[in-house]
């Protein structure tokens, strides 16, 4: 099987991509909010990653490189998606219609519904919350993926977390924080 030059490194590279599929799909789901679109996006990301393998700098983290590819591929998909009326902006407004008010109130009590609350946030907040708080990327890595300065990452991330706290009823107060179940 070792016919090509560097075949074993290609094997390892490919295996690492397969190993990261759960992470890729998780991020794709948050971007697209649709399982079928997410799977398409993952597949397309892997295609581009494999085709552009030579461009990966092994000194950097593969996850960060793949998330950058995925995000650019997703932006392309959004550009191609037809919308009624105005162009769908990448940074869309908060999706007030997606979740009814009572469910959001109940979400204050349930960690499971963090996902539901995240889904209502604007995409620029969703993606930054995922990259830093879930995937554990650094501010600098995230800034490179989003093509913005680190300062922008920090302000956007802070706003996103404050928004999340507000919707989840998280106050930071140990006695009265609503992350304890059963409290109102």
């Amino acid at each position: 099987m070792d016919e090509g030059r560097g075949a074993s490194s290609e094997t390892a590279f490919g295996q690492r991509i397969v190993a990261l599929l759960p992470n890729l799909r998780r991020f794709a789901l948050v971007l697209t909010r649709d399982p079928d679109a997410a799977d398409d996006l993952v597949q397309q990301t892997c295609e581009r990653a494999i085709a552009g393998r030579e461009r990966f700098d092994p000194a950097t983290r593969l996850e960060a490189w793949l998330f950058r590819i995925m995000r650019n591929a997703w932006i392309d998909l959004v550009r191609r998606r037809k919308t009624r009326g105005a162009e769908l902006p990448v940074e869309d407004a908060e999706d007030a219609s997606a979740v009814d008010g009572r469910r959001v109130a109940e979400a204050r009590l349930e960690l499971d519904d963090v996902r539901a609350v995240v889904e209502t946030l604007p995409v620029e907040q969703r993606e930054i919350l995922m990259l830093v708080c879930v995937e554990g990327l650094s501010y600098r890595e995230t800034a490179e993926i989003l093509d913005v300065p680190v300062g922008t990452v920090m302000s956007r991330l802070a706003r996103a977390r404050l928004k999340l706290a507000e919707k989840m009823g998280i106050t930071g107060d140990p006695q009265r924080s609503s992350t304890a179940r059963g409290e109102v």
């Binding site: 490919g14 295996q15 599929l21 397309q44 085709a51 393998r53 550009r79 998606r81 162009e87 930071g172």
Partner: protein, 245 residues
């Protein structure tokens, strides 16, 4: 001491502060309950995100299999397709494009035409395609910003998706034509005063959902790669290119 910003507290919570600054902040935290509360807010949101998303959903077996095949295919390929730097004159269909087109045709969802550079009209897509775009379409391509739509011919909707440059300062635009009985995704490039179709893919009518078949996307990508296309232009750059004649 100046008020500690949210960003600073957050950076501390995320381990992004250098050690000296972290130590200084810890001193402030010991003395200030409100500061501690605000810090906890950032810590708890991170914990909540992590807890909610860390049990990762299982990857659908079909997707996993497709990617595994992709990986295996890449390992056994004898040609490594990289983005060619030259603007190759068309001599038939480039290898990378041919492979992805074959995959798409096998899926049966779309037909395709590739501009060979000849002057013949291309049939298909309900007669929408011709090598040189007619007056109304050309005028739209000269002026319409990406993302906007225009009704032409009464029953046809034209939507410009993006603009990009080919080597040699050639301006191209990715365009969707949509009619009730079907449409096309096309790439047209401006040479002199004329817009000529370089690629056209016939697609089903978009209907009410407005989604393009994902299978069309790799064909376009392969075409763009083979033509060494630059990235999509941002709004200012695009406006500048459209103004330049």
């Amino acid at each position: 001491m100046a008020a500690v910003t949210d960003e600073r507290l957050m950076a501390y919570a995320d381990g992004e502060l250098p050690p000296e600054e972290a130590a200084a902040l810890e001193r402030a935290l010991r003395a200030d309950g409100e500061l501690r509360r605000r810090l906890a807010l950032f810590q708890e949101t991170r914990t909540a995100m992590n807890a909610a998303f860390t049990p990762v959903d299982e990857v659908p077996p079909a997707l996993r299999a497709r990617v595994a095949d992709m990986v295996a295919g890449a390992q056994s390929a004898t040609v490594t397709p990289l983005r060619p730097r030259r603007a190759a004159p068309w001599r038939g269909v480039p290898l990378q494009l041919a492979a992805s087109v074959a995959a798409v045709l096998a899926a049966g969802a779309i037909g395709y035409m590739v501009g060979t550079g000849s002057e013949q009209a291309i049939e298909g897509g309900g007669g929408l395609l011709a090598m040189e775009a007619g007056g109304e379409v050309a005028a739209a391509l000269d002026t319409l910003p990406s993302g906007q739509e225009l009704a032409i011919d009464g029953d046809t909707r034209l939507r410009v998706v993006s603009s990009f440059m080919l080597p040699g300062e050639v301006l191209c635009r990715e365009v969707e034509f949509d009619r009730a009985q079907g449409g096309t995704i096309s790439v047209l490039c401006r040479t002199g005063d004329a817009w000529r179709t370089r690629l056209a893919i016939a697609v089903p009518a978009s209907g009410t959902e407005g989604y393009r078949p994902a299978s069309a996307v790799p064909v376009i990508d392969a075409f763009l790669d083979d033509m060494a296309a630059g990235p999509a232009l941002g709004p200012e750059e695009e406006a500048e290119q459209l103004r330049a004649r």
